[in-house]
Structure formats: C-alpha cells, structure tokens
C-alpha cells in the first residue's frame, strides 16, 4: 500500500452550470496533517462534499486507500473510514448528545468496541458525559464542536476531515480544540485533513498545505514554506 491515503485527481464539480472545482489535484499522506486554506466561496466545502460523495464529480477521480471511490455511494465511503467533523452543522440539535453519538457511530456494529471508544471520548471530553441526555442544540459552541469531533472519531477513522473547526468559536476554545487535534494526531497517528480559514492555527499543526481559490489549487507546499510565502499575505485570504 502506498503512503498516500487519499488522493484527488483532476477533480471538477459544478452546481448546475456554475463550476465549483476545476481540476483539483491533491494528496494526503498517511499519518500527516494536511490543511486546505482558502477564502469563503473558494470551494472548500464542495471539496469535502465531493470527497464524501455528496457532490457528484463531473470529471476526475477520488482514490481512497488505493481504491477508486469516485462512484461509490457516500455511506460506503464513510464506513470504509472517511469521517467528517463539521462543527457548524455536525450535530442534530433536536437530539440528545447520546443519540448524536450513536448516529455518529452508525457503522460501528460491535457494542464492546463502541463502549470502549465512547470511554476514550469521555476521557478527552468529560463534559460530554455529563450532558448525555441533553439536547445537542442546548450545548455551547465549544461543546458542540467537541461533540461533532467525537461523533467522527468514535468510528474506525482512517482519515478525519475537519470542516472549519474554529468557525464561530472564542479564541480560547479554538486553542483547546487545536490542542486536542494535535494530541489526537500524536496519539492515534490519525491522518487529518483540515479545512480552515484560520490560517495561523491551521498551519501551526499541519505538515502540508494547499491553498484553494476560485475552485483551483493555487499553491501547495510544506507548511514551513507556506507560512512565509506571499500568497497568504494577499488581502483576500
């Protein structure tokens, strides 16, 4: 097996007649933290949806663990290990925390494994254990972010895609979330693909970065290089 866990080849998508992604190429290495930066409307969320199969690829391929999954239905891609945490929309507000977690672990059939993973999650986020019977909609922004990440990582996650984890959070909570992500990566050697607008935070924990603008990758490189490059000084970013 190659070292690349997720590869996007020449991917193009569109909403109706409006092109969203135009020939995007990217690869995520196993065990790495890869970040995708870009302004609003650059196509970041579309890229995430295309990887999951929620948006149809007009052209190009998505290869996950050496399998071409371009035409594989979403639920199969997810059960094979691509999991997304999207703090902004990642929880069912009218359901309890417990139900949310159960639905997050939709593809985990073994009860013992699920219990064990839940324990791990509660160890990291003890607050969730106290709020099990509370509706997710009543949680604070930070707690909801933790819940949405928990929902993703209680699976047999091969790659965790985070869709703007810092969106709408107080800086101190953002700090906490990123600390947790770093720990998660270090302890579980989890591959993380971070889709962010918060450039500094994202670059601080990632090895490799892409910059997406108007549906195209305009820059890619190691984060150490990216950090100093002129492209991030562009006022649009």
């Amino acid at each position: 097996m190659s070292n690349i866990i997720l590869q996007v080849e020449n991917l193009s998508t569109s909403y109706g007649r409006i092109p969203m992604l135009m020939g995007v190429n990217m690869s995520v290495h196993k065990g790495s933290v890869c970040t995708v930066l870009g302004p609003n409307g650059a196509g970041k969320s579309t890229l995430v949806k295309a990887i999951l199969g929620l948006v149809r690829a007009d052209k190009g391929k998505i290869i996950f663990m050496d399998q071409d999954v371009t035409h594989v239905p979403s639920h199969k891609r997810i059960s094979s290990g691509i999991h997304v945490a999207s703090p902004a929309t990642g929880t069912f507000p009218k359901m309890t925390v417990e139900t949310n977690l159960r639905l997050g672990a939709y593809n985990v059939d073994d009860k013992n494994i699920l219990e064990q993973r839940l324990e791990e999650v509660f160890h990291s986020f003890p607050i969730l254990k106290n709020r099990l019977q509370q509706k997710a909609g009543t949680l604070s922004g930070g707690e909801r972010t933790m819940l949405s990440i928990s929902k993703a990582i209680i699976n047999d996650t091969k790659i965790l895609i985070l869709d703007e984890p810092s969106l709408g959070l107080a800086p101190i909570i953002v700090e906490e979330v990123f600390r947790f992500l770093k720990k998660l990566h270090d302890e579980r050697e989890l591959t993380i693909m971070l889709v962010e607008q918060n450039i500094n935070k994202a670059l601080s924990i990632s090895n490799f970065g892409y910059v997406l603008q108007k549906g195209q990758i305009i820059y890619e490189g190691d984060t150490s290089v990216l950090q100093d490059s002129d492209i991030l000084k562009n006022p649009v970013m």
Partner: protein, 321 residues
C-alpha cells in the same frame, strides 16, 4: 352512553383514522420534504386489498377451517404487503425521478398517480367482485356487494359478532397500539433514529454514514403499512369503501398533518383528533350538520393555517439569507 360521550367517542374514532393517514404524510415528508399526495389513495387501496383478500379466503373455504383471528392476520398481512409495495412503487415512479427538479414535480406526479390508483380501483374492483358475488351471497356473507362502481361493503373483520361499540373500542386500541409501536421504532431502533436524522438534516445524515436511500425505502414500507391500517380502520368505521374516498381521506390526513406541524408525529395525532372532533361535533350538534361537516372542517383548517402556519407543534421556519 349519553349523547355527549357518544359524540366524543365517535370523534376519537374518526380522529384515529385521520391520524394514521396524517402520520403517513408526516413520515414521507420527514425523509423527503415532499408531500405525497396519493397517500389517501394508497390507504383506500389497502382497504380494497382487504376486501379482495377476504373474498379470496372465502372462496378457498378457509373461513370454515381457520379461526377468525388467523384469517384476519392473513388478510391484514396481504393488505400491508400490497400497500408497502404500492408505496415503494410511488416513491420509485413519482418521486425519485424528480429528486433534482423543483418541488412542484413530485407534487404533481403524486396527484397524478393518486388519480391513477383511484380510477384503477374503480375499474378493477367492479368486475372482479361482481363475478364472485354469487358464492358469497349464497353463504350469507357479511360482504354484500352493491352493483355499479361502488360502494363496496367492508368485511367486519374486527370482532364480527360483537356490538358496534366493542368494534369501535378495538379500532381505537389498534390505533394506539400502532402509534406506540411507531414511537418505539422511531426512538429505539437504529433505523428509526436514522429516519429522524434524515428528517432533521439530510446532508448530515449522509455525513454520518447513514444509508439514506435504504432508509427512505424502509420509510415508504412502514408508511405504506400505516396507510393500509388507516384504510382498514376507516373502512371498518364507515363499513363501506368507495374507490374515490381516497382523495378526501388524503386531503383530511394532509390537513391534519399540516395543522399539527408537518414534521411532528405528535402534531399529526393532535391534528387528526382535532379534525375528527370538528367533524363529529358539527354533524352531531348542528341540525342537518352532516351536510356541512366537510365544509366546516376545512374552514377550520384554513383558520388554523392563517393563525398558526407552522402548525400546532411545528417550528417557525426561518428562511436562511
């Protein structure tokens, strides 16, 4: 039973039959955000399936051999199966092809399909039942088939030898049992929770790895069975089935669901009961009110949606900018 309690009792009975079809609308709308306008016709199709299954069992002479409970179960199972199939067919033929088009398309196509089902029932059941009228009337069967297109007498499957009151108690009990089972299913099983998840946020349901397609299909199976039971209870309550009852029954179920708040099962129950109460009390308290019961029932619906457009238990829809 004095006059008032008997009115309340009838209202609950009628409300029960409306509730079931309203729940059907609710389930379908929940997973698809589409109003399946042929739900009422599917329910009446269920009632006709029961009549034909009954006639066929009678022809086979099974009523003399098997206890009534067993034959009733067979008949209901046949009807539930046929309704589930019709319901799945509805999804495949009149909803799924229009997934990417405007919301008007499935609306129109389900109305069209409803008409097809209705006329199909009208055409099919006259000749079929006419031919087997002979042997059935000979054995003094409770079914007596009036010639012409309709109505067809509904077999008295529920407690055939008891008084009307006992039968009605059983109708109410069956409705409550069905609702209870549905609640258990929705809140305790993975499939039920997935249905709720899709209803709340379809995209997130996909992201959680829920097999949305399969869940929608199962929703249609369950909805079809609910509708079959609804049609069965309506037929048992009215003791006749007309091929064209479906459109009115469907609009009442839909109204009940909307008045209650389209995505809430409790709302469907409240809406169904409300409609039942309005109709029964209008026909019971106003002299000659039977003629006006539908007029007044739908006027009440209009008043409700003017003052509470989101439904009794619905949430205000805030349009995202």
């Amino acid at each position: 039973m004095n006059f008032f309690t008997s009115l309340v009792f009838s209202a609950i009975l009628l409300g029960c039959t409306y509730t079931l079809v309203a729940i059907g609308y609710c389930l379908f709308f929940g997973v698809l955000d589409v109003v399946v306008f042929c739900s009422g016709d599917i329910a009446i199709f269920g009632a006709f399936s029961i009549i034909s299954a009954y006639v066929m069992l009678y022809d086979l002479g099974l009523f003399q051999v098997l206890p009534i409970a067993v034959t009733t179960m067979i008949i209901l199972a046949v009807a539930a199966l046929l309704c589930a199939l019709l319901s799945i067919l509805t999804y495949r033929v009149s909803i799924k092809p229009f997934e990417r088009s405007s919301a008007l398309m499935p609306l129109l196509s389900t109305i069209a399909l409803g008409t097809v089902i209705r006329e199909f029932l009208g055409l099919l059941f006259r000749p079929l039942l006419m031919t087997i009228t002979g042997p059935i009337t000979r054995v003094a069967d409770p079914i007596n088939i009036t010639s012409g297109r309709n109505p067809q007498a509904m077999p008295k499957l529920i407690a055939p030898n008891s008084s009307i009151d006992v039968r009605n108690y059983i109708i109410i009990a069956v409705t409550f049992l069905i609702i209870l089972l549905l609640f258990l299913f929705l809140n305790k099983t993975k499939m039920g929770l997935s249905m709720q998840a899709i209803s709340q946020n379809k995209e997130l349901a996909y992201m959680n790895g829920i097999n949305v397609r399969k869940t929608i299909n199962i929703t249609f199976v369950i909805g079809g069975i609910m509708l079959a039971i609804g049609g069965f209870l309506l037929g048992s309550y009215q003791s006749v089935v007309r091929f064209d009852t479906g459109s009115l029954y469907g609009s009442k179920g839909f109204s009940a669901a909307v008045v209650g708040g389209l995505k809430s099962i409790w709302g469907a129950i409240i809406g169904g009961m409300l409609l039942g109460f309005v109709e029964v009390f209008v026909s019971g308290l106003i002299p000659g009110g039977t003629q006006y019961q539908n007029i007044i029932a739908f006027l009440v619906v209009i008043v409700f949606i003017v003052f509470k457009p989101e439904g009794i238990l619905g949430e205000k829809v805030i349009e995202k900018v």
